[in-house]
Amino acid sequence: MIAAGPPPPSRPGRWGLRAGALILLLLGLLSVLAPVLSPYDPTFESPAGLSALGEPLDPGAAGHLLGTDPKGRDLLSRILHGGRVTFLAALVAVAAATVAGLTIGMLAAFSAPRLGGLLMRAADIGLAIPGLLLAAAITAVLGRGVTSLIVGLAGVFWAPLARVTYGQAVVIRQRPFIEAARVVGAGPLFTIVRHVLPHVFPVVVAYAALSVGWAALFESSLGFLGAGVQEPTPSIGAMLGCCLIFYRSHPGLILFPTLYLGVLVAAANLVGEGLRRPTEEGR
């Protein structure tokens, strides 16, 4: 049997992109409306939220759709608010990392080779430090809270984004139309903004979309390790970290936050992959 040509690559295609975007939009809406939708204050430790034995309530208990956590707080309200913290932190951190990565990557590709080399060396080091350790160290040093969580995540994600930007910019730099632009007298800044950036941007945005999912995963691992946001602020990671010991007696405490996380990450992956495909086929 002669090997048949490349198989039809399985791809979610455009419906994947649309579905992912729709889910992200929905999660965004849930985040914005969290205060309205939540039946309780997510930090309210209700005495009625615990059973007579002081155990968390199971899902379906009266007034608590998903039950309560070990402190008697309504789980649904905590997931809505915690999801908002995780989603927003991931979004803001990746947005900041994208701006930083894009700037550094472009600067590295179009500045003097020596400076460019130095910048990429720095990005390599950012890639070399295990991200979780770096983010944990940053949040530990800055003190726990949403802001330091965002700084910690951005501190991890700028490096790969700078690498992606640089890799793409170097390819575009050698294309004939860049030479053509130079020949007709376009200045370097004009060339970069009008001719290079439009080719770099889609690739970076696709990678950034993937990074949002990874950042959310990071947040959950950080929370699990006990870094990141501070009690009583809910976040998906903090909820997983606090309630891990209850996974046998009250699996819902782990299951529901994980479900939220899985949906968020999967949607971000769908969007990222959906955006990446056309840019790859164009080359």
């Binding site: 049997m1 002669i2 090997a3 048949a4 040509g5 490349p6 198989p7 039809p8 399985s10 060396r121 720095a122 390599d124 080091i125 890639l127 070399a128 430090i129 295990p130 991200g131 979780l132 350790l133 770096l134 944990a136 160290a137 940053i138 530990a140 040093v141 800055l142 003190g143 999912g213 995963l217 959950s220 691992s221 699990f224 390790l225 006990g226 870094a227 997983l240 891990l244 996974y247 046998r248 699996p251 782990i254 994980t258 996380l261 899985g262 990450v265 999967a266 992956n269 992959e273």
Partner: protein
């Protein structure tokens, strides 16, 4: 080769130096008294003073920075107040089990990823092929410690086949290794599937098949070595991710190692230990990247030029 190695070692030293500088800056950034955060909340005035002396927190930055680097160069990573022993001693005890788990997980990742990719490529476009792509995507949407928890729940708690945690016996390693190797192995298989398919069109494949070599043998003997090569640097970078996941899985399975140290250090805000673990992790990843690059050169004559 020697020159290349010297250059790479040189750049590794620079990397370590920059990581150490990052650690130094982090400690400097701590709001409030850095001596206090290094000594812990219950430190006495005299021990605070001795730390201030040892680290020279009263000195200007230009004196402190070289002194800090000199201390690191001699292997002095500071003192962990939460463990009441030098950071270097904590790390020396915790590094071997973590390395063992990482190595086992990496080996299992290869053992899962490579055969899976070979099998899937032999049936292009079939259900298994599509399933792999989907499974790799799904497994990267769940953190490794949750995979671990699911495994604990099913195989340790429900079925009782394996211990719930710890590292007392070889059986205790099965679930943690699996919870790392399955997601990473699936992602590896997906990457390898792509590079294997890229080799499919090469003339040497058509020739080997025309010579009458069975397709499975062509795939293993000819396509696989070529398809693995571009993955070396990817795998090395992936090692940083694997190392992070190992730390978390250690905590989930309550196995001794750097992960549990980090977990406790974060709880107690033991800055010296946190930064020390970061330094060791960074150094390890830098070393693995170096090894991977050298391995490519040893394996692939084309890369030698």
């Amino acid at each position: 080769m020697t020159r290349y190695l010297a250059g790479r070692l040189g750049s590794m030293v620079i990397t370590l130096w920059l990581i150490a500088t990052a650690g130094f800056i982090l400690v400097e950034l701590i709001p409030g008294d850095p001596a206090r955060s290094l000594a812990g909340p219950s430190a006495s005035a005299t021990s605070l003073e001795s730390i201030r002396q040892a680290y020279g927190f009263d000195d200007p930055l230009v004196v402190r920075y070289p002194a800090a680097m000199a201390r690191l160069a001699t292997g002095d990573l500071g003192y962990s107040f939460s463990r009441s022993e030098p950071v270097a001693q904590v790390l020396a005890r915790s590094l071997p089990p973590t390395l063992l788990l990482t190595a086992l997980a990496f080996a299992a990742e290869l053992a899962i990823g490579i055969p899976l990719a070979l099998w899937v490529v032999s049936r292009p476009g079939r259900r298994a092929d599509r399933l792999l792509v989907a499974a790799a995507g799904a497994s990267s949407a769940v953190p490794a410690f949750l995979v671990g928890l699911i495994l604990i729940y099913l195989f340790a708690f429900q079925l009782g086949w394996f211990p719930l945690g710890g590292a007392a016996s070889a059986r205790a390693y099965v679930l943690p290794v699996l919870s790392l190797a399955v997601p990473f192995g699936l992602v590896l298989a997906r990457l390898l599937r792509t590079t294997l398919l890229e080799e499919e069109d090469q003339a040497y494949v058509a020739f080997a098949l025309a010579r009458g070599e069975p397709p499975w043998s062509v795939r293993i003997r000819h396509q696989l070595p070529n398809a693995l090569l571009p993955l070396f640097s990817v795998l090395a970078l992936d090692f940083a991710g694997l190392f992070s996941s190992v730390a978390v899985v250690e905590v989930a399975f309550s196995m001794p190692g750097l992960g549990v140290d980090l977990f406790n250090a974060l709880r107690r805000l033991d800055t010296a230990l946190i930064v020390g673990i970061g330094l060791v992790g960074g150094a390890l990843v830098a070393l693995v990247n170096l090894v991977a690059d050298v391995a490519v050169i040893l394996v692939d004559p084309r890369a030698r030029r």
